[in-house]
Symmetry: C2
Subunit: 206 residues, 2 copies
């Protein structure tokens, strides 16, 4: 049987919705590229896309969500961090590494995050955009949650080990690190993040 | 006065030497690209360049030196590591970070190493080449020197923090990390490398 030449109403509406959402994501990409993460606003994205601001909010709860969509990131780092910070403080380092290696089992996540890091390392503007996002949505949340005077610096040192784990294990794939099990990675790097963030000393190393 | 149309003998010889060295470096680039770090040999580079193997050894003491030249690396990571390993073991972590931040004060070193990491993250083959170099010339030296059963894994975890420091401080330039002084970076990251490598616990964090 031939397909109905006039698609049902629901199908038409869905296509229209997908178009609007795609137009907003494209406009968000342009807006972030033009003004950086801090300078971009959801209202300006709506103006660029020629849609009502309410429609932008209909599809995207907040700026980090729009940013993740514009960069085609399959994860929401800001939500992951918020969840981890809601958990017990004394296992924060271990929880961060566990969340990371679990998410990075997905090849789409790995390649999206590695592509983002590579771009940020190679382009001044992309670097600034990622820096602003990391700062506003991740480091500042961690800093506020720690409630320590030098929380910002602690969070930044922890971020350096997290970035290094991503690049060395999943990017360059340094042998023993790429071959280590998730449990081994959590056991080795979790205590380091904990020390950076809270000052808790790592356990004796066997 | 017009320049002498026939350059003096010394100048001719120098130009010839520069040509030969450049031909060897080009051949080395092709050889590493074709066979990887492990597969390449100085003899095969000589064959490719159409010169006597003795000439390759005249310009380049060993394979790591040829590799650094082919990649236009202004530093010799293998020599730096050898020097650090000759120093006192109980400050190894601190010495590594100090050596790194001191070298990275030079913009040429920064951009060459960042370009290398970016390429290694983006291209399967370049990644393999860097991985082999890191393994043979850096991790294995550290492993042998530590004389510990799981030295290879320890060195790899330390490498992840070193890569992370490079990417986060000099590549993405995460605010508090980019703004921290060299001394602050050494004080924060040195103990972590020490813990990874030797198991010495870090000092209490203020």
């Amino acid at each position: 049987m031939a397909a109905d030449p006039a698609p049902p109403r629901r199908g038409r509406r869905r296509a229209g919705e997908a178009d609007a959402r795609a137009a907003i994501v494209r406009a968000a990409g342009d807006e972030f590229a033009a003004l950086g993460y801090d300078g971009a606003s959801m209202r300006a994205v709506a103006r660029r896309a020629g849609v009502d601001p309410a429609l932008v909010h209909h599809y995207f709860a907040d700026k980090p969500e729009l940013f993740a969509a514009a960069l085609e990131l399959p994860i929401r780092p800001d939500r992951i961090v918020a969840e981890l910070l809601a958990g017990p403080r004394e296992v924060l380092g271990t929880s961060i590494v566990r969340a990371l290696v679990t998410r990075f089992a997905d090849p789409a996540t790995r390649s999206a995050v590695l592509a983002l890091l590579r771009t940020a390392m190679g382009h001044e503007f992309a670097g600034r955009m990622l820096r602003q996002f990391l700062f506003r949505e991740l480091l500042q949340r961690i800093t506020d949650s720690l409630g320590l005077e030098d929380g910002e610096r602690r969070a930044a040192f922890a971020a350096s080990q997290i970035v290094g784990l991503i690049v060395a294990r999943y990017g360059i794939r340094i042998g023993p690190l790429a071959e280590a099990s998730d449990d081994e990675v959590v056991a080795a790097i979790g205590p380091v993040l904990q020390w950076y963030l809270t000052g808790d000393p790592p356990p004796p190393r066997p």
